[in-house]
């Protein structure tokens, strides 16, 4: 029986006998593998940046907004119905086993000594930092009494701090927002980009009262809250909390039995899931397109192997005449296809990884090279070799020795 190493070397010899042909054949697989790796790297990169963008909004979080009210059969977008109020907020805080906060939001110019900066002003209730997973870097959080007494104090985001005060200590300094002086009592810890080019540190927090009256202005009712945040203690509690919150709100907002909610509760966990699965689908789709090119590479291998079998018919006959079994011929030709294919897989892996790296380095794309890239591309290219080498190899093995030897 032929030794395994001899089978291997005879396949290597056959491949190196036609270096140009072998390289071009494996190029098909190379391109396929490289495309699959580069595309999934880009897809996975997009996926993780979407995930971090959404999870940057806070975890284990429900966000309540007004709206989803019916106006003459037309369903309005969230935030358009009768606004949420402090009453809703308090009802939720009282009845739910969770931390609850609310906020209103406006845009304004913040003026410090000599400089100014246009940013987002968030008027917040107590517990806001806890519900949004925000941390204080310097100074302190608002005290509940400051919120109630509508004190004019602010906590600055890292970007705002840098723009207004540079490296100087902002604590205790004064800033003016809509011509009203505020005292800086704290600075938020940096959170960084949230994807979509959103800077989460470009923000100023202040007690909800002054922001409602000075920044957002007349449009708002005196007890209005634009968003309510409910933070569950664990992700398991989130679903029960969501239905409890809805029930409470239907009561406080006097939604009649059978009619639709005039508010909406968004579960951040499910939004995260939706975002994740959307990018995942996208990645799979592109990956499948790339895999088709791998298929084309496989057909190239089959084509060349069929040519090789025809060219080497007499060789096959001779090998059989001197003792080769059909199985030995089958294995030899399959091995040739597998070697050519996995050679393409190996180089495709290197090219794919370099491509992903180059896209990240020079194109600024967020790419994540999957950990399975190496084993899967080598395994997959070998499998392509087996599948597309099988038919030619089987044909070679089935040749009748006498007829094969007579062929010229």
């Amino acid at each position: 029986m032929i030794r395994t190493s001899d089978l291997f070397w005879s396949a290597v010899n056959a491949i190196t006998a036609h270096p140009m042909r072998s390289s071009l054949t494996s190029l098909g697989v190379l391109i396929g593998v490289a495309a699959v790796i580069a595309i999934t790297s880009v897809g996975l990169g997009a996926q993780s940046s979407v995930t971090s963008a959404i999870s940057g909004l806070g975890s284990n979080l429900l966000i309540v907004t007004s709206g989803a009210a019916r106006g003459g059969g037309v369903r309005l977008a969230s935030g358009t119905g009768s606004p949420l109020t402090e009453t809703d907020l308090q009802a939720l805080a009282r009845n739910l086993d969770a931390t609850v906060s609310g906020s209103v939001r406006g845009q304004a110019q913040v003026v410090a000594e000599g400089t100014n900066w246009n940013t987002q002003i968030e008027g917040v209730t107590a517990n806001y930092l806890v519900t949004r997973d925000l941390k204080i870097a310097e100074g302190r959080d608002f005290e509940d009494s400051e919120i109630v007494s509508r004190r004019k104090v602010v906590i600055l985001g890292a970007t705002v701090t840098k723009e207004l005060f540079g490296s100087a200590d902002p604590i205790g300094q004064r800033v003016r927002i809509s011509n009203t002086p505020f005292e800086v009592i704290g600075v938020l810890a940096k959170r960084g980009q949230a994807g979509f080019g959103m800077d989460q540190d470009d923000i100023v927090l202040a007690p909800i009262g002054p922001v409602r009256s000075r920044v957002v202005g007349r449009r708002l009712r005196s007890s209005a809250v634009s968003q309510i945040f409910i933070k569950a203690s664990s992700s398991d509690a989130l679903e029960a909390l969501e239905s409890d919150a809805k029930e409470i709100l239907r009561e406080t907002r006097r939604v009649r039995e059978g009619s639709e909610d005039n508010f909406s509760v968004q579960n951040m966990a499910s939004i995260l899931e939706a975002g994740r699965s959307a990018t995942q689908t996208f990645t799979l789709l592109l990956g499948a397109v790339a895999a088709v090119s791998l298929l084309v590479g496989g057909i190239g291998i089959m084509n060349i192997m069929l040519v090789a079998v025809t060219e080497r018919t007499r060789e096959i006959g001779l090998r059989k005449a001197i003792g080769a079994r059909s199985r030995d011929i089958l294995v030899q030709f399959t091995l040739e296809a597998v070697l050519v294919s996995s050679l393409g897989g190996f180089w495709g892996l290197l090219v794919g990884i370099s491509g992903a790296w180059a896209l990240a380095q020079f194109g600024g794309w967020p790419t994540t090279i999957p950990v399975w890239a190496a084993p899967v591309s080598l395994l997959f290219s070998s499998v392509v070799g087996v599948i597309f080498g099988a038919l030619p190899a089987w044909r070679a093995a089935q040749l009748h020795p006498v007829e094969a030897l007579r062929r010229d």
Partner: protein, 226 residues
Amino acid sequence: MMIKATDLTKTYQMGPNEIRALINVSLSIEAGEYVAIIGPSGSGKSTLMNVLGGLDRPDSGRYFFDGEDVLAMNDDALAAFRGSKIGFVFQSFQLLPRLSARLNIELPLVYAGMVPGERRRRAEAMLVKVGLGQRGDSRPSQLSGGQQQRVAIARALASEPRLMLCDEPTGALDQKTGREILDLLEALNRQGSTVLMVTHDLQIASRARRIIEMRDGAVIRDGAPQ
């Protein structure tokens, strides 16, 4: 008796016509014999050689080699039979052009599963035996026709077969070179190899101790040359 074949029959279907390549061929060959098969083109000489060498199966008949029923063997056993008991020499040499003379000679030993060192030693010995001791590294394309046929004979000898089957071994060679190849085969026969050889050349055939003459698929004469 090394070979005992009885009533071998083989028919080819060519469209509506039946071509009877072998018709009730019976023959016996003893170890150590040197037999020439002659006959006009198409008389079934190659077909007989292929059947005796286990390359082809007859439609009917019985065939025993060293007492073993060759026709009862499955394809794998038949491959092993060819590899160990038979050495083929073809008119067109059938060397693999990519391999050196030595590696061509080693090829039957590769399929026998012999380790590389042993194979190489055996191939070198065979090269010396056929008078090509220095040409082991040459490719077939670098050798003359006579030298190529010597390599092919060395390959046939490598696995120390019981029977050498030579189908017109001098058919592609000029007369002088052909003579040298025949001298080599005769020398090998004197050293103990059993040789069965197909030839068109009556002069060549007359050098054999036994001649089998075929016509239209049948043996019409079997015996010593007149």
